[in-house]
């Protein structure tokens, strides 16, 4: 199993969640985060904003679904056809085990 963590624009969250639902991945958790990227934040006039609001969504999927999930998030989260700075990042990390609390069953 793999955990996919995506940091995306807050205004794109609904689109990404809808795209994931249609692709067959309903289970998602999201949280508000703040951060900056390679561009060292955003400079508007004299002021530099280096803690930009983003949303982090995370989901755990089977190894074989990884490409589909990444693709789905990428398509939905990209602004315009070419994308722009600040569209976000996707991180993937391994998961050893998953348990469902209500049934106590191991596995997704």
């Amino acid at each position: 199993m793999l955990m996919v963590r995506a940091i995306i624009r807050p205004e794109k969250t609904d689109e990404v969640l809808a795209a994931l639902m249609y692709a067959g991945f309903p289970s998602v958790t999201k949280m508000d985060v703040f951060g900056r990227g390679k561009q060292r934040g955003m400079k508007i006039g004299e002021i530099t904003y280096d803690e930009l609001p983003k949303e982090m969504i995370f989901t755990v999927v089977e190894d074989s679904d990884k490409d589909l999930v990444v693709d789905t998030i990428m398509k939905a989260a990209r602004s315009g056809s070419k994308g722009a700075f600040g569209d976000g990042k996707i991180f993937i990390s391994p998961v050893d085990a998953a348990y469902t609390v209500s049934s106590g069953v191991k596995g997704l």
Partner: protein
């Protein structure tokens, strides 16, 4: 070292904290998250409701589409994992959908900021807390 990420019900937080500290696992990070599980949400229906179609509005369930939960993050030694997962399940289980999920992830390094200790000694001694 392993990281245990548990997404649980908001109202089970106190019971979980109590059970974990009785187990000798006092260190944890918790935060509020919102999310959804295996239940399907029909976005066409939502869109229709936003545009004001009566049929779509009538089919909507009264609940929100993302549900508030608590996410608990615990970093621990390999041998403690099973014990903690069992405790989390037994405390949080009500048997109905929405009890949450528990994920176990590998952690490659832990560093204690105060002293700069690395590895398992940075995790602290469980015997101290008992």
């Amino acid at each position: 070292m392993k990281e245990i990420l548990a997404v649980i019900r908001m109202n089970k937080m106190n019971a979980t904290k109590k059970a974990l500290s009785e187990l000798g696992v006092a260190s944890m990070t918790a935060r509020k998250v919102i999310g959804r599980g295996k239940g399907k949400v029909d976005y066409l229906l939502l869109k229709g409701a936003e545009e004001g179609y009566e049929e779509a509005i009538n089919q909507l369930s009264p609940g929100p589409k993302l549900i508030p939960k608590r996410m608990v993050q615990i970093v621990t030694r390999d041998e403690k994992v099973d014990e903690i997962v069992e405790t989390l399940i037994s405390v949080n289980q009500t048997g109905s959908p929405g009890d949450g999920k528990i994920f176990v992830l590998p952690i490659s390094e832990t560093i204690r900021v105060r002293t700069g200790e690395t590895g398992e000694e940075a995790l602290g001694d469980y015997a101290d807390s008992e």
